[in-house]
């Protein structure tokens, strides 16, 4: 009987030991690995994993509070290893990233292409664990597992809210002023000497019997400066057609050439002189910057145009063009949004449109209500930027002195997080 009882106790003890072992095995927290003489560091705490915000999906952000031994003491943590698994129990064989000490987050992201390396499929649950690493690769501490978390793409980037509101407000202002202009409201636009001189310059060319040279510069058709230049060319071409003056338009870009040909042809048709249009008036030269400049300078020296009009994007060649124009005795009107070239045009040309004056030229030339309305909207937007800049200066420099903490909060709202 005694032996039997002893046997039963042995069985009980044995069973308890087995159960304890099983419990340890089932518990997903891997034991801290030790080697003789090195104590594992404290693990990271407050581990969370969330879908990365404001992205196209396929990205999960893992955050944690660093280990208490982060870069300190005998149990120095030198970095963190982020592990991933498809199940809570593991196995955690997938190392998705290693970050240095002091780090508190890691973005596990991938390309949207399914075959790409490390691709993270959307709407698939993952579990994460972070190991605090030491100088010995065998000595580390694992955190608790967090999850499930899955990635998905967002339909609106909340970090761009200030930009979104700016676009809405600007569009609303444009619509408002365009409507006002349509209803016949007078909108004042200050005179632009460069644009007012265009008609006189064309008249001068006609009297002298010399051609007009129109240069788009080195932009491409999608540049805003080039689009503004198209509008100016259409006005110039219409006048040229009416006065029967020659027009020369050497182009740097083939697309600009095709658009410019259409513009000039339409201008001649509108002026009732379709037969006077010469297709070779608008031609492509080359897409090499200085080869183009050499060609245009050659045209200036040979053809001796009475008027040179430079409207668009210009780079280093701006002064070369303008100075050659001075040598050939032309009257020169220039407009560009390239800030670095504006001083050269100011120095060498008779009239210069600086920056946004080029964009305003289209509204100024036609005096169409629609265009003037958008110009007004631009002015009000500029005023708004000015007010915001002043508020920003106050917020950064004087909010403490003036007790304007609300201003600091207002300023922080404008942070754009892409």
């Amino acid at each position: 009987m005694k032996n039997l009882f002893n046997m039963s106790r042995f069985k009980i003890v044995f069973t308890v030991c087995v159960l304890l072992s099983l419990y340890s095995f089932v518990n997903a927290q891997a034991p801290a690995v030790t080697t003789v003489g090195i104590t594992p560091p404290a693990p990271v705490t407050e581990l969370t994993a969330v879908d990365t915000d404001n992205d196209h999906g396929h990205s999960i952000t893992v955050k944690w509070t660093p280990s208490a031994d982060d870069g300190a003491g005998a149990n120095n943590v030198l970095g963190y290893r982020v592990m991933r698994s498809n199940s809570f129990e593991g196995p955690f064989n997938d190392t998705v990233g290693v970050v240095p000490l002091g780090s508190t987050n890691f973005e596990n992201s991938s390309s949207i292409e399914e075959g790409a390396e490390g691709f993270i499929p959307d709407n698939t649950d993952f579990y994460y664990r972070v190991d605090a690493l030491t100088g010995d690769s065998l000595v580390f501490s694992s955190s608790e597992v967090t999850g499930p978390v899955h990635s998905y793409g967002q339909w609106f980037n909340k970090g761009l809210i200030p930009v979104f509101f700016a676009v809405i407000i600007f569009t609303a202002l444009t619509v408002l002023f365009v409507s006002a202009a349509r209803k016949g409201k007078e909108l004042y636009v200050r005179p632009l000497a460069g644009i007012e001189a265009v008609d006189d310059a064309i008249g001068r060319a006609t009297e002298m019997g010399r051609p007009i040279l129109y240069v788009f510069g080195l932009g491409v058709a999608s540049d805003i400066a080039t689009i503004a230049s198209f509008t100016i060319l259409s006005r110039v071409a219409k006048r040229v057609a009416e006065y029967q003056t020659n027009l020369i338009v050497p182009c740097y870009d083939p697309i600009i050439m095709t658009v410019a040909q259409d513009i000039v042809k339409t201008a001649y048709m509108d002026a009732g002189r379709p037969n006077d249009y010469k297709e070779d008036a608008v031609f492509f030269i080359t897409q090499a910057q200085f080869a183009y400049v050499g060609a245009v300078n050659g045209i200036m020296i040979r053809e001796l145009p009475a008027t040179n009009i430079y409207m668009g994007k210009f780079y280093a060649e701006s002064l070369m063009l303008a100075e050659t124009g001075v040598v050939s005795g032309s009257i020169q009107i220039a407009g560009t949004d390239e800030i670095a070239q504006i001083p050269f045009f100011v120095v060498a040309c008779d009239y210069t449109l600086i920056g946004e004056e080029l964009f305003a030229a289209s509204a100024y030339l036609g005096r169409e209500p629609l265009l003037l309305g958008s110009l007004k909207a631009q002015d009000y937007a500029k005023a708004a930027v000015l007010v915001l800049a002043l508020l920003g200066i106050l917020a950064v420099n004087f909010s403490g002195d003036l007790g304007l903490t609300w201003l600091v909060n207002f300023k922080d709202w404008f942070k754009v997080i892409d």
């Binding site: 790409a116 390396e117 090499a288 780079y315 280093a316 800030i339 670095a340 892409d418």
Partner: protein
Amino acid sequence: MNWFERFMKLDRRWIYLFLITVCLLAYYSDFTVPTIREKETGAIYNFIDSLPAGEVIFVAIDYDPSSQAELHPMTYAIIEHAFRKNLKVVFTALSQNGPGMADQAIHDIADSMRVEQTYNGVSYPAREIANGVDYCFLGYKPYYALVITAMGQDFRTPFPADYYGTPLDSLPLMKKLHNYDDISIVVEVSSGNISDAWISYGQGKFGFPLAMGLTGVMTAQYYPFLQSGQVMGIMGGLLGAAQYEDMADNPGLAKDGMRVQLPAHLVIILFILIGNIGHFASRKNRKNVQS
């Protein structure tokens, strides 16, 4: 007509002759222009100098041969500095006429690494620079804005193969590199508005450290980006390149170029002063005549 007015009507060819004479004399003279180190260039030098061996930098050689006189010195200075520090370099050339010139420059610099050199008291042994191991030249693709954006996803999207036609996946260096996240810094050397695209589509979207090497005339335009932190450093023209060479203790093309640039600037200043003196003298003369 007094001699001031005669001088004001001087044929421009005399000015050109005077300028070229001064430049030639300066070129064949032997003197060094001392360099004052500026914070903007120092930021780039210090960043690259602090990178440990094996880190990867991205150098965009985005200029045409027309700007090589001003921008080649800084390209050479940076790449030599990087190779000496055992950094890996990925190159592109997003300017249409630039790839051939960039390829030539890379080979020149790689050849110069075969000689042991000492810079700032540190001796750098000679070494072989191997394509695909120490550097990768991605080459040129049109529409730079699209290329810059696409590289943010994966370099292989716009460049499945390098400039020489080798698939990127077969290059040891590129096996570990996928996009800007794997790069320590992007150094963009350009003479046009590709710089704007790097700021808007590159640094703005992907947040990597961006340094710029620009022609002198463009430098002033990018100070707002420096102040806002979008650009971490600027090398402006030949002066910026000379400053970098000075910091790296590696005098080269820029130091030689400054020897010519300084007298040329002084000549232009002289003409400006003469022009203004003549202008005021003639104005005074006209007033005297009228009264």
